[in-house]
Symmetry: C2
Subunit: 421 residues, 2 copies
């Protein structure tokens, strides 16, 4: 079995590599044609796709998947419409491939510039949500990359049905069918193969729980664009405008709980804590947010607030729970963020110019915000179109990753016969 | 021993991480001050450094190091001057850190942009040449990164002497001495530690032979900016201007042999081969370049030309040897380059507009050149100032890597109290 999985994955890899060569020089027109044909095929195949999803859902219920997972797995007609809209958005995006920038003459007489090119073959590993299949496939196609998709086994029928529509679209546009491949085995060995086929795969994008991503990062022999966790902070400075601070602190925590850009720890300057904390606590109480505070927070808000432990500062709750710490000054806030945070998204609320500059320069996170809710850190809000993930790495892509994160730049040189002396 | 190496390296890593936090927000003025102080210290320490190098050289001769290695190891007064000039060049470079680009308003009212930041801690692994110690240290410092340097054991005394001058310079400028650390053990286990300390090191830059780099890439748990090999091509199209083609083909092969951007295979369009090959062969003969040709090449040039085997197409000779293949058309040339090449640097010589566009779009190499010698692919010629390496990867940095390759961009958001709806 192990052998046959290896053979299967090697074949998938070879086909992807071959298809990627065609895709890399496909015109914008051809790629958009394929995406439009996929759109039409999806509309035509909607009943089959929803039926396949119903099979996955029934199997999921039979095997007692937890309700959050079942929720993510489900494709309703509304979600299906959302998927189609996402696809339309990708068609509307500017094709990044072939863009030439920075063309300038060097003293030798050569003219040097950079040209944007696809990475090649993307390996995508994800859990449950079948809409990721379409999102990832369309972003890969638009950016001239081939993609190998490995969704969760619980979504296999849904993903296969979506893949059928995608294949149909590729065929209509005359692009190789292996440009987008869905792994059709539930065997976990397939993932082990995918993340080590260095000759066939150029980058791995995992999406899912922290344990999945950690496992993949540890075992991959291929660069991984990974998103570990989002332990985000908002720091309310003594010079904060409370008309901004209160809505931001409320929005960053309560707009949605289960998302990576939600605030998990609130930091408050000690000279504003007496005024700010009781007012924000009242707003959190209305939303039933559980507060866990440092000693000073509990002195101000009362001992009904639980004590935050060292562990709390590290925790991404993804729930209506918030840790609160009173700090002496901005340096302590920055130190806390850089030490306990996950380098995802952190914000300061202040009117002070020099503190803005300090916070921007010293907070080591993929998004650093001034007087705005951390909830803005996402591909749509950043105008990237669809988002293939949010990277907490520093190498290659950082923060929300859209089309450009799936590309690279090569150097180009225009000469007139120059030789090196 | 293994334990103590681990403890030693962990301490080195922790200190580097700590120093990197200071460096990341050091001003351009402070960093340049430190570099100038290092310059002065090097000038003052020249006798000690050359004496230390003499010790390494003697030891090298005693242990029968080969002459190429001894040559790379040697620090002559002329080479020392070259090192100092390189340092001056780095001081003159624009500081990339803190650069803010693409600031634009989003529909939500937030203003979004990107800010250039250091990667953090660089691990540099290299062989013999002690000037790399200064080059890498100065580039890291200028770009706000801490660096851990692990040179070859044969250069240990030279590297320690250079490091002493560097430490002195850091001290004068008030920067942490651990910003630049030289590993002082010859134990190979130190490398194993360095490339797996994911919490303390952000990127590994290996420089050396292919086997060293392959070993490091395979074992590293940290992203590697690697340069495997340079199997470069020049394709002489039927529409080539021979006044350009002859000098380029000669220069790309014979300007220097032991460099990664030298041409290793010459591809010639069949309709120009009869005219071009005898003329270029004459020029190569003057330089005593050994030719290995395909069947058609040997038909034209005579059977004194050796037969090129499949193996030859893959080979980076780094020597006065050249493989030659006659191809039917540009597609065959591109296919050959993408299949056998190392995606380093490849050139076409042609006057045809559409072939230029095709070659640029379809050749998958870090540098793609039109009517210019492949020898131009280097950090100095590209105006990057010093070069920390040439990357044959697509992720993060591609081609010659200078200061910018040691940086990353974070997103920054300026708001006025915006929350997400």
């Amino acid at each position: 079995m192990q052998d046959s999985i290896e053979q299967y994955m090697q074949a998938v890899g070879q086909q992807a590599r071959k298809a990627s060569r065609v895709l890399s020089s496909a015109s914008t027109h051809t790629k958009n044609n394929a995406l439009s044909a996929i759109y039409t095929a999806l509309v035509n195949h909607e009943p089959e796709i929803l039926a396949a999803n119903a099979v996955d859902m029934q199997k999921g219920r039979d095997s007692h998947l937890d309700s959050a997972l079942l929720d993510r797995l489900e494709l309703t007609p509304t979600r299906f419409k959302g998927m189609l809209q996402g696809l339309k958005d990708v068609i509307a995006l500017t094709d990044p491939i072939g863009e030439i920038t920075d063309l300038a003459y060097r003293p030798s007489g050569i003219q040097l510039g950079k040209m944007r090119v696809p990475l090649g073959v993307i390996g995508m590993i994800y859990e449950s949500r079948p809409n990721v299949t379409l999102e990832a496939a369309s972003l890969a196609l638009k950016s001239g990359n081939a993609i190998i998709l490995r969704g969760g086994s619980e979504a296999l029928q849904s993903n296969k049905a979506i893949a059928t529509a995608i294949q149909h679209g590729l065929k209509v546009a005359g692009l190789p069918e292996h440009a987008i491949q869905v792994i059709e085995t539930a065997d976990r060995a397939a993932v082990g193969q995918l993340i080590t086929m260095t000759e066939y795969v150029d980058v791995i994008v995992p999406r899912g729980g922290k344990s999945l991503i950690e496992r993949i990062s540890n075992e991959a022999r291929i660069p991984v664009i990974k998103h570990l966790d989002g332990n985000c902070h908002v720091f309310i400075d003594v010079e904060a405008d409370l008309h901004k601070a209160l809505p931001i602190a409320l929005n960053a925590k309560t707009h949605r709980y289960g998302v990576c850009n939600a605030m998990e720890t609130l930091l408050v300057h000690e000279e504003i804590a007496e005024e700010f904390l009781p007012r924000i606590a009242e707003l959190y109480a209305e939303k039933h947010v559980e507060l866990r505070g440092c000693q000073e927070t509990r002195r101000i808000l009362g001992s009904s607030v639980k004590t935050a432990t060292e562990e709390d500062w590290y925790t991404e709750y993804l729930a209506p729970i918030l840790a609160i710490k009173v700090v002496e000054h901005i340096d302590q806030a920055i130190e806390h963020i850089n030490k306990y945070g996950s380098h995802h998204t952190d914000a300061i609320v202040t009117e002070n110019y020099s503190k803005v500059r300090k916070f921007l320069a010293e907070v080591d996170s993929s998004s650093v915000m001034i007087n705005a809710s951390t909830r803005f850190a996402d591909g749509f809000e950043y105008g990237l179109g669809a988002e293939i993930g949010i990277s907490t790495d520093k190498i290659h892509a950082r923060g929300p990753v859209g089309l450009e994160g799936l590309t690279s730049q090569k150097w180009i040189v225009f000469g007139d016969g120059q030789i090196r002396h």
